[in-house]
Symmetry: C2
Subunit: 596 residues, 2 copies
């Protein structure tokens, strides 16, 4: 298997050429003072080195060894402690963090690139900085000044790591029925008791302290989701001088045996009167946690993208190296016993499908990053409002679509290897097992789809969708005269129209049929994602076309040809999805219990 | 996780009611004398017991323990030896075998039902009887009378097991470039030397002897696939009196660490001058091996179906038991904290998708069995010829489509469990890992698709496809007046027309573009499979409708509603597939090497 190499040319192309992020940064004063193109480029370069040279080489063995639990302690695979230390020393945990508390304050259009490289190189280890960064976001947005000063600097540095404790054995999606209790103490702290499961990196040996962000219910809390509060619960209590005090009253009861991401610890956490501090207001914990969740959701989408990129790199190399059978047009490699796999049309279809989803997906994650940057840094209220709407709309698409395609791409990458793809030593099957979790955690993809269709699209009566449609329409309008886009604009406009029609259709159905959004949701998310990727590929064409004319490297001409492939072979899926959605909820809802 | 229970009502429904297999058996004298409905039913009943009570309980632990290799010996997981012995005692290895050599001679329409149950219960162990049965088929069809008498009875009983040795490190799909040599000896035997990999159950401790069927090249063999011969190479040489003699000169060098089917041994086999005997003619080994491969290919399709059925059983049970959130129409379970998952439209979509593919797939495997029975047992030459054509056409569809949907269904089944689906103890993730191999081995699904599109459809200039189209058309014609089919016949006819048009289109393209079949192949196989399943669901409706009128059990009414779901939500995929195929090979073939 090819070792992962950070695809710096691809990343720079998307960030600088497709989205011209430097111009975006320069346009917003609060960002302009922090980042310039040279700094950003140096960060990309260094991120490439760390992920390629430090994280990626540990990925395979991390899967074989896994984490080990012994009497409440978790030992990480060989090399993970040292690699985590490298991340700490490079300040990568705080790349996007608040500079007021020692974060680096870099824009998301840059941070997503680092995240992709980290997750592609080693998803199991990459979960630790990802969760820490998410925890910081929640604390920064909702915590008291005192809590922030006490915890944020060490979390941004990564000397301490963050963890997120939501799920309980009987509740995952439906957090309203959770049982963990938090009882107020006289000193202003709370005493937490209960059991949390599926806690990623809840316990480990890589950081000095682990700060848990725990959802729990106050004794007098209202029932359901409106009675949940968020607490900061450190593994070691922190003294006023910042030194570590006694061990808090909670422990890791066991770690799960899982399908993949075996290098990470997935913990059962038992809280037995643990001391915690309220983050934000009482009974408003779910909102605070969603600050974190929304960050993680794009992050998990990027995990799917990263795994897909890693799979693509290996499969592409294998397709050029492995000799098997002859091309349909006759031997291309007459001196050897067989031609390389890449001569076969169906192998090309596989590699191009991977490439189209990965490169389109990278553009989409950067597109999301762009709206996150505008939402955070613009001084223009209406632009911010637009951006916030786009972020709300696009987050579930990024999470679900990028991870669904992430699994698809990894499965294809495994298929390219034939029988060797099924054998552990080649690494392709690990990517499938690792990528699979991304569709499940941080809100299963069915829940993302409901969020998109129900809360965002129907909930806004289509207003959020209109933001996206207007952005796409403006692009189509602007590029009418662009000769490079000539073959693409018509199908692009048609696919936007299809998506708009279906959106309209579901909005209408939803008025009389409460089941309509749920019946449409997953197919609608796919339809949305495929349409968005068509838009991304059109943007890629705009950026690549001028350079393709004198391109001997194949980089830019390859982009134009892959765009064509995407429009010919993948975008047509939207037709079927739309047809399926239009059939409504009836064929789902008619079955009585004994008819399943 | 629900333990697998053989779905006897479903199986009897398909075999007896949808296909009326007893009438088929009675119509062909050679079969009529061997099997009657009571015998068949007793076999189904007993198969249900053995698979449910003996094989299924070992499945989970077999995955955890895996096989162990030590100095050439392979130890199977706890209980596998005893379970295999139960299979031997029941005569299950020889269920479809030639009665002349102690096989039971049962029809394939019955055998496929047993195969499904066995593979659903325990795919790893199920591979052993499957490979043995395939080996018997090749030996029975191509071996000398002497070889048959010496080996078949003990293979049919399962006292000895069979194994199939094709792949080498540098060649899987492209067997023409293999290197294993067979040198003729004076006594009429051959001396085999070389290394074979990915040899399923090549070594184990469950049977007294293991009979390898090895492809190798004679010293003067022509280059390529026309220079391959097939040899029978027993682990222990067999004396003339049938007793076991000395150990043959080959051994298992190691077993693979794999993604799944860990309870089975996947062996590297080293042949060092091993004694073997020619099966069939010199240099015609590939044809002989294909007798075996074709059998296995349907068998592997059934593995995908079996895994899907197992996943469906668990996911359906979980969806009714797990309480999470409220129905969109308000609480359905007001006394409890939440409603069961099954109230949510998207969960219903998931379960119904699984159900539609599994039950449609079961009908399709029985449909294939029907044509295999006719090909083998009819005395009518033209009917046999038709059946042989159908078998040739349908085999790659059964292998690829049933295993692709097998993975899809298992992934959905895992998704229904949320986070618990990713944890090993629940068993859903094992089904995903196990099912994944079915898309790869016995000819990767891309190869199946090429076989269908290139060799079968284009190779016959569409004649084989016409057989299928005529069978479907005859059904549509015959059922015109059937009121139960009223909502289905029009879309069914439209989907046949779509498939016919696309077939015509590719046939035309192939005349001038050698890449056209390969560019279309995988999407064409999907399109074919989806259309065939629409046909199967229509057949199910015909069988179910009369009984649905007074059905309080929900069994028959559920069939009608699931058919509706299939037509509304899954069949529309054919529209997109057809559109993608029509774009031709250009967008696949334009990329230069540096443009990927």
């Amino acid at each position: 298997m090819a070792d992962y190499k950070a695809p710096l040319q691809e990343i720079r192309f998307v960030m600088n050429e497709v989205f011209d992020a430097p111009a975006l940064w320069a346009s917003m004063p609060r960002l302009a003072e922090r980042v310039d193109p040279d700094t950003a480029d140096a960060i990309i370069e260094e991120a490439g080195k760390v992920t390629t040279n430090v994280l990626a080489p540990l990925n395979r063995e991390g899967d074989e060894q896994g984490c080990k639990w012994d009497n409440g302690n978790v030992t990480t695979p060989d090399g993970f402690r040292e690699a985590y230390q490298t991340i700490v020393e490079g300040g990568w945990n705080g790349l996007g963090g608040n500079p007021e508390f020692d974060g680096m304050g870099m824009p998301k259009t840059l941070v997503v690139q680092f995240e992709e490289m980290m997750q592609a190189a080693n998803m199991a280890l990459g979960l630790a900085p990802m969760l820490t960064a998410g925890a910081c976001l929640a604390l920064d947005a909702h915590g008291s000044q005192e809590l922030k000063q006490k915890y944020l600097p060490n979390l941004y540095s990564g000397v301490w790591s963050g963890s997120m404790d939501l799920t309980e054995p009987h509740c995952g999606t439906d957090l309203g029925i959770m049982r963990t209790k938090a009882v107020p103490q006289e000193d202003g702290s709370y005493s937490l008791s209960g059991t949390k499961i599926f806690i990623t990196w809840g316990e480990h040996d890589m950081a000095e302290n682990i700060i848990h962000f725990v959802l729990a219910k106050l004794p007098d809390a209202p029932k359901g989701p409106k009675g949940i509060s968020l607490f900061l619960v450190p593994k070691f209590l922190v003294n006023d001088d910042g030194s570590l005090g006694e061990r808090n009253a909670f422990s890791c009861g066991s770690i799960e045996k899982k399908m993949g991401i075996k290098g990470s610890a997935t913990c059962v956490m038992n809280f037995d009167g643990a001391r915690g501090w309220l983050v934000g207001e009482e009974n408003k914990g779910l909102a605070a946690m969603f600050t974190m969740m929304n960050y993680e959701r794009l992050g998990v989408g990027i995990q799917g993208l990263g795994a897909a990129e890693a799979s693509l790199q290996s499969a592409r190399e294998y397709a050029f190296e492995r000799l098997q059978s002859r091309a349909p047009t006759g031997p291309q490699n007459p001196d050897k016993a067989a031609d390389p796999l890449i001569v076969h049309p169906d192998v090309r279809r596989m590699i191009l499908t991977m490439k189209a989803y990965v490169e389109g997906g990278r553009a989409f994650s950067t597109y999301c990053g762009q709206w996150l940057d505008i939402a955070k840094f613009t001084d223009d209220d209406s632009h911010r409002k637009q951006a916030e709407g786009m972020v709300a709309l696009l987050t579930p698409v990024a999470k679900a679509f990028l991870t669904d395609r992430g699994l698809d791409v990894c499965v294809i990458g495994q298929q390219v290897f034939g029988g060797h793809g099924y054998i552990r030593e080649w690494g392709q099957e690990q990517l499938v097992r690792d990528a699979r979790i991304c569709q499940i955690y941080e809100g299963a993809n069915g829940i993302q789809a409901l969020d998109l269709m129900g809360r965002k699209v129907v909930g806004s009566q289509g207003a959020l969708f209109e933001l996206f449609a207007e952005d796409m329409s403006a692009f189509i309008e602007k590029e009418q005269g662009n000769p490079a886009l000539k073959p693409f604009l018509e199908p692009l406009a048609a696919s936007l129209e299809r998506l708009s029609d279906v959106t309209e259709h579901v909005l209408e159905q939803a008025q009389t049929d409460p089941n309509a959004p749920g019946a449409a949701s997953v197919d609608y998310t796919d339809l949305f994602g495929l349409t968005a990727l068509a838009y991304m590929w059109a943007k890629i064409v705009v950026a690549a076309a001028p350079k393709a004319e004198n391109d001997t490297s194949g980089f830019y001409t390859g982009k134009l040809k892959t765009a064509r492939f995407y429009y010919d072979r993948l975008l047509p899926k939207t037709v079927s999805l739309a047809e399926g959605i239009r059939s409504g909820s009836e064929s789902l809802m008619r079955h009585a219990a004994n008819e399943f």
